[in-house]
Subunit: 540 residues, 2 copies
């Protein structure tokens, strides 16, 4: 996205569809199959994106390269890869191309749960002081579980990896020729803090003696703050993008975190909810609190001078998409076609006619595990209340409601620790596509929800950091004041629904605690039985 620094307006935007998308079945051009819970990407797709998208945007905008003052990159996280010392991804080395661990591990790669369990158990045993900053649990999605999985399962790839790096930083490295490490991913995903640095070599060694030197051997202790300049565009990257060599490039950032300044949500007490395939909640605070199951709290992690709290739900739009792809019968697809509408909209319209509680259904929204507050990728989705009379639109509504309950659990956890929530701003693609969803969030939370007009908040936020790197502003706060997208729409809670939703929420919380806090381990048992069945390969 190319953005005007004067007012934040979008000048042009383009999209490149990754050739290899999410790799979760087999490696590209290969018959190497992946285990369940794996999710990889191809770093060549990132470079191809730069090569396709930037030139296209310049053409669309009719803007000359010298008019571009800076470049900012936001990315998913923790999405990480092993590289050679010069930054070459190991999966691009012919001899390692057929090794799954040589590829990029996407944020939603969930196969490192055993390593995450170990990371947590050893930390607890040793009383590691950093654990409470992460809500008491490190997720399998994060840096060290993923790194440790490489060591455990393919030690040769681990040894060959001169660097283990966030994809966000790797892309900036490709643009600038300089390896930097940003404080946002380091803080949220790699257990780093300005005051204490990384966990100790003793801790890492307790996980595995070969892991003791992971930071010094494969990472860096030099962490650069977001808002700073990482470097300038190299000749090679200029040729890729059509931009001017020497164009300033900002330190890399994370899609969710960068959305807060983009939607003007950088005051303490504001929660920015980035709603898309998953939900991410960014909350700024002035006081350090230890909140159960938060993804992390990082000083200056979102904007300088404030504590940035992160929490999240690991599947939201992904659940609705799963439902439409796997569980909606032909007659509804047919109706959508006849009305020139889409399936989501047809379901939404019918679901909007139901009162709170009328579906008779309650759902636990853990199709992709739980990222907050339980932090357990071993959990799974659950539907209760099915009857012969249950209709697809009722299920659809129950799925929407479940994700709203999931957000309420997170906000309740913050408020329990006196991190107050005064304002909620929603952004991302979902709130624009699904009005019923936002209204349900307002009703379930009993709070007003403001929806940002930006449908590309991460790109807008990244552009702000690019502008900052280029010297257009003195601070991200200043950039946000000038460039942030206005609020498009405000949803007020319907207090008439409050009682029914409070009752449903109480049931949700009870089931959440039952299945999520060890009262009933059926979800874990089912995953184990599935893994054993797949290993046995005895089809019936």
């Amino acid at each position: 996205m190319l953005v005007d620094c004067l007012d934040g307006s979008e000048v042009a935007a383009a999209v490149y569809q990754y050739a290899n998308g999410v790799i979760d079945q087999r490696l590209p051009d290969s018959d190497v199959e992946l285990e369940p819970e794996w999710a990889l990407q191809d770093p060549a797709d990132y470079v191809r994106t730069l090569q396709h998208v930037v030139p296209e945007v310049l053409v669309l905008a009719g803007v000359r390269p010298e008019e571009v003052g800076g470049v900012g990159i936001d990315f998913t996280s923790c999405t990480m890869l092993p590289t050679a010392a010069d930054g070459t991804p190991l999966c691009e080395l012919p001899e390692l191309r057929g090794r799954p661990h040589a590829w990029v591990k996407l944020w939603k790669h969930h196969a490192a749960q055993p390593e995450a369990d170990e990371v947590n158990a050893v930390a607890q045993e040793r009383g590691e002081p950093w654990l409470p900053r992460y809500g008491g649990k490190i997720s399998s999605e994060w840096f060290f579980p993923k790194a440790l999985q490489i060591l455990h399962e393919d030690p040769e790839v681990y040894v060959r990896a001169d660097r283990l790096i966030e994809a966000a930083d790797w892309i900036v490295w490709q643009l600038t020729g300089v390896e930097t490490r940003n404080n946002c991913t380091a803080g949220y995903k790699a257990i780093w803090s300005r005051a204490a640095g990384f966990p100790s070599a003793e801790y890492f060694g307790a996980l595995d003696p070969r892991f003791a030197g992971v930071v010094d051997e494969k990472m860096s202790r030099s962490i650069v703050s977001i808002g700073r300049r990482a470097g300038r565009l190299t000749e090679r990257a200029a040729a890729w993008t059509g931009l001017r060599p020497g164009t300033p490039v900002a330190v890399a950032n994370v899609d969710a975190h960068v959305s807060a300044p983009a939607v003007g949500g950088i005051e303490p007490g504001t929660v920015v909810v980035i709603m898309g395939t998953s939900n991410c909640h960014i909350l700024l605070g002035e006081r350090l609190a230890e909140v159960e199951g938060m993804c992390g709290v990082v000083e200056d992690g979102v904007v300088p001078g404030l504590l940035g709290y992160e929490a999240g739900q690991s599947a939201v739009g992904d659940i609705f998409a799963w439902f439409v792809a796997n569980a909606v019968p032909p007659q509804i697809h047919e109706l959508a076609r006849r009305e020139g509408s889409d399936v989501h909209r047809v379901l939404e319209e019918e679901a909007a006619g139901l009162a709170a509680g009328e579906s008779g259904l309650l759902v636990l929204d853990w199709w992709n595990g739980n990222r907050s507050v339980l932090v357990d990728a071993g959990l799974s989705g659950c539907v209760v209340g099915l009857e012969l009379a249950t209709r697809p639109a009722e299920l659809y509504r129950a799925l929407l409601e479940a994700t709203a309950f999931g957000t309420r659990v997170i906000i309740d956890a913050f408020e329990r620790e006196s991190v107050s929530v005064d304002r909620i701003v929603a952004c991302g693609g979902l709130p624009h596509r699904n009005r019923l969803l936002v209204q349900i969030y307002a009703d379930v939370l009993g709070r007003t929800i403001e929806v940002s007009s930006s449908q590309q908040a991460p790109a807008l936020g990244a552009a702000m950091f690019g502008a900052l790197a280029g010297g257009a502003f003195g601070s991200i706060r200043e950039a946000s004041e000038r460039m942030a997208a206005p609020i498009a729409e405000t949803y007020l809670p319907d207090h008439g629904k409050r009682r029914a939703y409070d009752e449903l929420y109480a049931e949700y919380v009870r089931l959440h605690d039952l299945f999520g806090r060890g009262g009933d381990d059926v979800m874990k048992t089912l995953k184990r039985l599935r893994a054993e069945a797949r290993q046995a390969v005895v089809p019936s």
Copy 2:
């Protein structure tokens, strides 16, 4: 069905599709809407069936009326209706036609749960001696809860009802002009036994003073055993059917119970499982035992000289049909069309490729409540283990498995009370249509399952009783020996699956007990919230 008495072979069969089918939305030709959980039928459909089907069968068979030695009727139960003294259904009186309680309440009418709760509570309070014979609980599907619902909700219809009668007996009344009451429905559905008769007037009066005289005012204490002749065809019924006036007509019987002699399952220790929209389990025993949640045990209820135990699952094929109608995406319907197959078969083929436990899913099969062993129509279905990778065939397999677990719970309950199960014979339409289902039952139960060749076991069983009424045999045992359908196929359990299924079953039982025995009342709460939401009618 017209059957040859010499060997039980089917000479001809015909079907009449009820004009008004199952009435669960609004009354026919009316805008009177029904509440949730209601299910009615139109008695005129039963007469039209006789008028269409019998003449058609005679023509198809090329058989003369005088060659027909007897008529037997089997029917669903408890399906009951209020009539005038001459047998005219109250719903056929113009002034009562718009009153839902004047119609036939179909077996799966579930709106009398509050009355069932009362029937059980008062019985427990008074220590009624008959309660253990019904597994400790009377179902909302049975006679007195349904009768009491009429009294509570439409006392005028209750007062106008000179008779309250099982539809099975009502049809025989229409054929013979004689009102009889068979011991099978009386025993299983109306709390009657040869030794003790009906519950006392004191008991009924404790439910409602107006209900004290229900038996003497609206029923009959003269109960006739199955296997006897009810009467002979009247001139009117002969005109309807094209049969000879005076043709012997057997005492009415129940579809499930009559299947036992039809498939040759009348030895002690044999369970006959009638698998269709729901499952019914008929087990013959020599010893009276009180088994938790059985539907009932009746002396001579299935064959003379033995105790007939009944248990059941209130939705089986209905769940699979619900799934195909509501939750299977277009690509699978499309594939079925392309292959000239049907959706069930496509799902079955893919599901057959999965190992036990490989779906990662566990289902509670209570889409229509639970009839045994929990006897609670207030329960509902539950799916655990959903993930973004979950596919329709995995869900389908989990639904099949859940119904197998449900049958295992029932068989375990019998064996716990030392009612031994030595042999299992399956019949009904489902085992012929879905081979994977039967194999899963064999694997989950760890037992051999014999599938009867008869796809019309109830009709064949009814014909046996017709033959008996006509004097072709001296006993139903003799008729069964001559006419029973042979075993078509035998499914052996795959002991390699035993461990995985034992583990899954243990999880099933734990969730079954959690949600079904009061540990977690979420299903009840959801039904209550839905009822409140519908009453409020505040759409969002």
